[in-house]
Amino acid sequence: MKYPKKTEQSNFITANNGIVAKSLSVGVILFAFTAFYLIKLATQAGEYGPSGDYTTLENLARAGIALSLVSAIGLNIVQNSIYWFWWLRKTPVDERQKAVRQSVFEEAYTTVITGIIIAAFFLQLNSHDERLIAGWIAGILVFFMPPILAAWHKES
């Protein structure tokens, strides 16, 4: 009996739920929190050091947010735009993917709300730029938490 070629049977010929999606999901979180750390450093530098340090660190923080956003959009595209940007989808979403999407949205909602409540208690935002960067991070996480969680979901 002639079996189909192994490559035709493989579940891993696309990046969906593979190493690319996982790397991008880590990138989104890593760049976002690095940006927040940098803007905190920038505030300290602005208070105690020369203003040039502040500008450099602030620009690096903005670059971190931009990279986080690019990673998040890339992650969504790698996942066949199941979560956002539906007009970029190459194939329609089937019943299993819809079921996964449903559970991932529920998990993402709980995670983000919990994270925001904890952050509201413990985060100190001392300057306008810190609030701006924190707002961007919150926006990215609210919007892109479903694809981030889906990258690690064993059924996606």
């Binding site: 009996m1 002639k2 079996y3 189909p4 070629k5 035709e8 049977q9 579940n11 969906n16 194939t91 329609p92 979403v93 089937d94 019943e95 299993r96 993917q97 059924e155």
Partner: protein, 76 residues
């Protein structure tokens, strides 16, 4: 737990997962999940898969483990 013989019929028909997925109207990864028993399809998809293989749903899916074909007695 629902058992299935999708991979057996697919190999018999010499189809790839992608080809089966195209005919059933699902993502090819969904076929892999069904074959491994990680996902139980809806009735609609079960009937569609059975139609693709030209067999009955009970030939394809069961709530009991399938016996190897060699152990089965002829029905007629």
């Amino acid at each position: 737990m629902i058992y299935n013989r999708v991979s057996v019929f697919r190999a018999e028909k010499n189809m790839s997962r992608q080809q089966l997925a195209d005919q059933a109207g699902v993502n090819y990864q969904t076929i892999g999940f069904i074959e491994r028993g990680d996902y139980t399809p809806s009735l609609e998809l079960a009937f569609t898969l059975a139609r693709v293989f030209n067999v009955s749903v009970t030939d394809l899916f069961s709530d009991q483990p399938f016996k190897p074909l060699i152990e089965r007695t002829p029905t007629s």
